[in-house]
C-alpha cells in the first residue's frame, strides 16, 4: 500500500505529464488528463500494482469531487446575463432542443439497440446531451462572429443546453422524497438570496489576504452539495446554478475568478479528470468498439436532427449551417461528470461508463481532428474562385506603371 505522499506524488506527476502533453500537442488539459489517467491505470494496474492508481481512495475522491464542483461553478459563472436577458427566448428553444434531442434519442438507442436497462439508458441520454460552450465560443471568436446577434443566441443556447443536462442529472435519479422537496425549497431560497448577499458581503469583508471570497464560495458550494447528496441528488446541480446566479457579480470579478482557477487547475481538476480517465476500461472498449460507434452516431445524429430545425425556426440562414454544427460537440466536463455520477451510484457498469466517456471524448475530439487534418483556410474559401486573379494582383501590390 502506497503512503499518502507517494500516492500524491504519483498523481501530481501524472498531472504534470498531462499538462506537458497538452502544451506540446495544443490540446485541452482536461482531455490530456483523461487520456493520461486511462493509460496510467492500464499500465500501472498491469505491471506495477494491481490496484493501479487507487482512484477510490477517499482523499482522492474528495479532491476530484471538489474539482468537479468548482469547475461546474466556474462554467456557470461564465454566463453573460446581459446576452441571456436579450436572447432568452431563442436560446431556450435552441438550447432545449439541443438537450432533449440527444437526451431522448441516445436513451432510446441505448435501450432498444444496445439493450441497456432503463436507468443506464437514461444516464446515457444525460451524458450525451451536453454541449461545450467553450467550443462554440472558440469558433465564434475564430470567425470573428462573437458579437453578432446570432452568435450571442447560440452562446446563450449552450448554457440552456447544459442547464438541461445538470437539472436532468440532479433530478432524474433522485428518489423524490420529502428530502427532495426540502432541497428544492432551500435551493430556490439560496439562489434568490446569493446575488444580493454576495456583493454586500464581499464589499464589507473582502479584498484581504485571507481569501474570504474563496472560502465563502466554497462554503456555499459544499453546503448545497451536501444538501443535494442528502436529498439523493447531485452536487454539481447547485454548483452550476450558484455559478449562474453569481455570473453578474462574482463572475465579473476577474481577480477572484483567476484565483479560483489557480486552485482549480493547479490542484483540483487534475484529480478529477485523471480519476475519470482511470475508470475507463480499455479492454471493454476494445471488446465492443461498435457500441462506441453507435453511441457516437446517435449523439451526432439526434443533436443535428433537432438543433437544425430549431435554428431554422428562428430564420437564421446563411451562416446557420456553420453555426449549428458547433453545438454538436460534447462537453468533456459535463459528459464525464454525468458518466462518473452513474458509475459512483452503480447506475451503469464500468463497461458502460467506458463507452460513455469514450463517446464523450470522441464527439469532442473527432471534429477537431478533422478540422486540423484537413486544414481549411475558412477565410479564404469565399475567394477561392478569384484566387488566381487575387494572386496576380498581389504580385505587384505597390507596383507603379511606367507610361
Amino acid at each position: 500500500m502506497m503512503n499518502t505522499w507517494a500516492l500524491s506524488a504519483l498523481w501530481v506527476g501524472l498531472a504534470l505529464a498531462a499538462t506537458l502533453l497538452a502544451i506540446w500537442f495544443k490540446i485541452s488539459t482536461a482531455l490530456s488528463e483523461i487520456v493520461v489517467g486511462t493509460v496510467a491505470q492500464l499500465v500501472i494496474g498491469a505491471f506495477l500494482a494491481p490496484g493501479g492508481l487507487l482512484g477510490n481512495t477517499q482523499w482522492i475522491a474528495f479532491l476530484a469531487g471538489t474539482g468537479a464542483i468548482v469547475l461546474t461553478f466556474l462554467a456557470g459563472a461564465e454566463l453573460d446575463p446581459v446576452i441571456f436577458k436579450t436572447k432568452w427566448r431563442e436560446a431556450s428553444v435552441i438550447g432545449l432542443a439541443g438537450f432533449f434531442g440527444p437526451f431522448f434519442g441516445c436513451a432510446a438507442i441505448a435501450h432498444y439497440v444496445l439493450h441497456w436497462a432503463m436507468m443506464p439508458s437514461w444516464l446515457c441520454g444525460v451524458a450525451l446531451s451536453t454541449t461545450s460552450v467553450a467550443v462554440v465560443y472558440a469558433v465564434m471568436l475564430e470567425l470573428g462572429f462573437n458579437v453578432t446577434e446570432y452568435g450571442k443566441s447560440i452562446l446563450a443556447a449552450c448554457f440552456i443546453n447544459d442547464l438541461g443536462t445538470v437539472i436532468a442529472l440532479g433530478l432524474i435519479f433522485s428518489p423524490f422524497t420529502f428530502k427532495t422537496l426540502i432541497f428544492v425549497v432551500v435551493s430556490i431560497a439560496v439562489f434568490a438570496a446569493l446575488p444580493f448577499l454576495t456583493p454586500w458581503f464581499f464589499r464589507k469583508y473582502g479584498g484581504r489576504v485571507s481569501e474570504l471570497e474563496a472560502k465563502y464560495i466554497l462554503f456555499f458550494l459544499f453546503a448545497m452539495g451536501g444538501l443535494a447528496l442528502w436529498a439523493g441528488s447531485e452536487a454539481v446541480l447547485p454548483a452550476y446554478m450558484i455559478g449562474m446566479v453569481l455570473a453578474g457579480t462574482v463572475g465579473k470579478d476577474h481577480s477572484l475568478i483567476r484565483r479560483l482557477r489557480t486552485l482549480t487547475f493547479g490542484l483540483l481538476t487534475p484529480f478529477y479528470f485523471i480519476r475519470a480517465g482511470s475508470f475507463v476500461s480499455v479492454p471493454a472498449i476494445v471488446a465492443a468498439p461498435l457500441t462506441l460507434l453507435v453511441l457516437f452516431l446517435a449523439k451526432s445524429t439526434f443533436k443535428a436532427a433537432v438543433v437544425y430545425p430549431a435554428v431554422r425556426l428562428h430564420r437564421y440562414e446563411g451562416n446557420s449551417g456553420a453555426y449549428y454544427t458547433l453545438m454538436m460537440s460534447t462537453g468533456l466536463t459535463f459528459g464525464t461528470i454525468s458518466a462518473l455520477f452513474g458509475l459512483n451510484h452503480q447506475i451503469i457498469t464500468q463497461a458502460q461508463y467506458s463507452y460513455l466517456v469514450g463517446t464523450v471524448i470522441a464527439s469532442a475530439v473527432i471534429p477537431t481532428i478533422i478540422a486540423n487534418s484537413f486544414f481549411l483556410p475558412r477565410h479564404l474559401l469565399p475567394h477561392a474562385q478569384t484566387s488566381k486573379k487575387t494572386e496576380q494582383s498581389v504580385q505587384r501590390p505597390v507596383a507603379a506603371e511606367e507610361s
Binding site: I27, V135, Y137, S329
Partner: protein, 145 residues
C-alpha cells in the same frame, strides 16, 4: 506599356508570438518599415486548447491577452522611436488562418514571420504555421530564420 517599378512594401504584417523567432522577425520588419516608410501591423494569435473546455478556455484567453499586451508595449516604443505607424491586434483561433485573414483584411503587401524548429512528430500532428501561411497567403511572405 512600361515595366513595373517596385516602390517598396506599404503595409507590412508581422506575425508575433513573443518568441525569440518572432522577435527576430519583428526586428527585420521594423527596419524594413522604417526604410520603406511603410505602415506596420503586428498580429498576435491566441490559440485556444482543443477541444476547448469553458473554464480553461477563458483562462487561456485572459492570460494570452495580458501576455501579448505586455509584449506589445516595447514594440510600440520602438516603432515610435523610428517614426513608424503601428497597429497591433490580438486575434483568437488557428494562427495560420488568423494571420492570412488579417493580411487579407488590411491588404498587406508583405507578411513577415519567424520560423520555429519543430520535431517531426509535432509537424506531422500540428503542421507548421509558417508553411501554411506560405501556402495560402495571397501576398509575399518573408520567413525569418
Amino acid at each position: 506599356m512600361g515595366s513595373a517599378v517596385f516602390v517598396g512594401f506599404q503595409k507590412i504584417l508581422v506575425a508575433f508570438d513573443a518568441s525569440p523567432h518572432a522577435e527576430r522577425a519583428l526586428d527585420v520588419a521594423l527596419s524594413m518599415a522604417a526604410d520603406m516608410n511603410a505602415k506596420l501591423f503586428v498580429v498576435a494569435v491566441i490559440r485556444p486548447p482543443e477541444p476547448a473546455e469553458s473554464a480553461e478556455f477563458n483562462a487561456v484567453l485572459e492570460d494570452g491577452r495580458e501576455r501579448f499586451e505586455r509584449s506589445f508595449a516595447p514594440v510600440r516604443e520602438r516603432a515610435k522611436l523610428k517614426g513608424i505607424e503601428l497597429e497591433t491586434e490580438i486575434a483568437v483561433g488557428h494562427p495560420a488562418e488568423q494571420i492570412i485573414h488579417k493580411a487579407d483584411t488590411i491588404q498587406a503587401s508583405l507578411i513577415v514571420m519567424g520560423k520555429r524548429s519543430h520535431t517531426i512528430l509535432h509537424r506531422w500532428m500540428l503542421g507548421s504555421n509558417s508553411e501554411r501561411v506560405l501556402k495560402y497567403a495571397s501576398c509575399p511572405v518573408m520567413i525569418v530564420h
